[in-house]
Symmetry: C2
Subunit: 386 residues, 2 copies
Amino acid sequence: MSSQAPHSTLLIPGPIEFDDAVLQSMSHYAESHVSPAFVKVFGETLTLVRKLFQSTKPSAQPFVISGSGTLGWDVVASNLIEKGENALVLHTGYFADSFAACLETYGAHATQLKAPIGDRPSFEQIEQALKEKPYKIITITHVDTSTGVLSDIKRVTEIVRRVSPDTLVVVDGVCSVGCEEIAFDEWDLDVVLTASQKAIGCPPGLSILMLSGRAIDRFKSRKTPPSSYFASIANWMPIMQNYENNKPSYFATPPTQLVHALHTSLSQITARPMAERFAIHAQTSDRVKAAIADLGLRQLASQPESQAHAMTAIYLPDGLTPADVLPSLLKRGVIFAAGLHKEIATRYIRFGHMGVSVTDPARNDIDKAIVALKEALTEAKQAKGL
Amino acid sequence: MSSQAPHSTLLIPGPIEFDDAVLQSMSHYAESHVSPAFVKVFGETLTLVRKLFQSTKPSAQPFVISGSGTLGWDVVASNLIEKGENALVLHTGYFADSFAACLETYGAHATQLKAPIGDRPSFEQIEQALKEKPYKIITITHVDTSTGVLSDIKRVTEIVRRVSPDTLVVVDGVCSVGCEEIAFDEWDLDVVLTASQKAIGCPPGLSILMLSGRAIDRFKSRKTPPSSYFASIANWMPIMQNYENNKPSYFATPPTQLVHALHTSLSQITARPMAERFAIHAQTSDRVKAAIADLGLRQLASQPESQAHAMTAIYLPDGLTPADVLPSLLKRGVIFAAGLHKEIATRYIRFGHMGVSVTDPARNDIDKAIVALKEALTEAKQAKGL
């Protein structure tokens, strides 16, 4: 039983439901950001980020910074690519457009490789594109929150290493870290950026990044200085290294309560093998997808191999919009999200299945949501005379 | 009585002690950032920021963004000044050096007007500097957390309007907003940037800004696009306007729990006249400064008119360092901060007196701290044979 105030179950693709202990960490009493107790908690949190990414290479560097997940794009765009250099942006939904806009703000040339809605660029297209010009970075949205499309970052990285080995592989893992398999070292990734409020199960307000030694080296060999101050790797790296070495350090005040909450959530997550966590998210996702099919509904993500395990984007029956269905779900104590992809936003809804709603056997969130969805659809169709 | 776990009293110049209700808001259950309930809370919070700044002009625009106070510098440097333009940076401690570094990161020319440690540039020097070349912005650290020096932002703004009326007046109010008098409209300020964790009494993790209509106009007439993405006014302004008009909107996920805490804290602060809040901070500061003098100690801020009401930076007796005194204070349940100004960091300590420690009559934090300081100094001198 949760000790939280009664509330509808939040099953959007982030923020997600919290574990009680995580939420209790948010109300930690006032603490100096350079006190020995907090330095220890922050340092341990950074080490837990390594475990989250299954990374053991000392050359890899975790970052935990006050900000939204979006800030991670600025970190990449202002540090790992320079004005006039090329970025290949794999497009599987809304978030690639935004990442490209961020890259161009800092002067990079972003070339988008787009797939039809619900699909992803093919491996052949990616290989072909990489051969056409030299790309400093390639960006991949691991799970695009607007479409629920999953990218195969392992396979894409293999292609990059074969065809364009110097290109840095940058993964936007905002909607994947903590539930989709990521083996940072083994897959030879260069950057994974994420946020606290999705499958990590912490409240929003933390930008979390993991950088490879190769990415750090590339940063150090920049010809021009980094073009951001708050998002500067040069400003943050000594801070992260000092805290992890149990030394206080100051660049900007860290959000102490959020760091406590992240410490609690990562301690819980990494207490079990990551493979087990990925498996239970995959099983739950399969169950959701089967239920969606049983209801005669289609997903945005058309192919099984490109369907995220963190969420499902569901086309509504013809004639229904999110406004016909979401209030009816809410009446049943379940919160889903409306569509986000501009071209088809009114035609679909999004169901997030991550974190405690999936892993805590004492909760019944997913089954409750499936039942609620069935009832809400029936109700909405009747109301519309469909 | 506080319902918080027992802990030493945090009297550093931020973060500060929290009110129970503020801290309880931090553990608000999971909520969608676009739900009607949260949209209302965020919208009201923005309106409360206007009250905090005693601003009623519809052309002024509040911002509440996930990030540290430092992020406010990037907002200024990437939006309100362009490459090659001049910024006059009034230097009263560590934070002017950092703000200047941020401005230069984005290509501005920062000219620092420096005063000796503990002093501030004179009005004559400022007037002279403004006449020497055209400055797009002038930056003033209202209270420099490293020195406890207070600047007279009202008077400086009068000089700017007389001598260089187009120059935007940018106030770094991280250590002043919520305890030092600020009349945003009446004083004709253009930007005040601050953070949640100082006199506002909220946990760290929010960058808070107020921009004048003049600043917004100047932004809109930029010749080049803004040079940041996460810190872009263009990206955030529609979001803030929509939320304040009770409409959900998305650019990056707001830190919902921190916004609740800020809502609670600003509701408490603005429930009483701001003048009363400024007065009680001034009275408490006077009491602290008198006690410091009674102990035979000097402040870094040499002149009464340039001594902050939020904090006191105190020179230690010759032969003592912070390491001799801070542990002894901690033993007595009081946490002060070490020195921060590089040149003299080992020669002084900092005592923050803001927020509930000052305004809550049920607390005895300040008197306890004064007694503890007296005892700790005696103990430290004895230990050193002084």
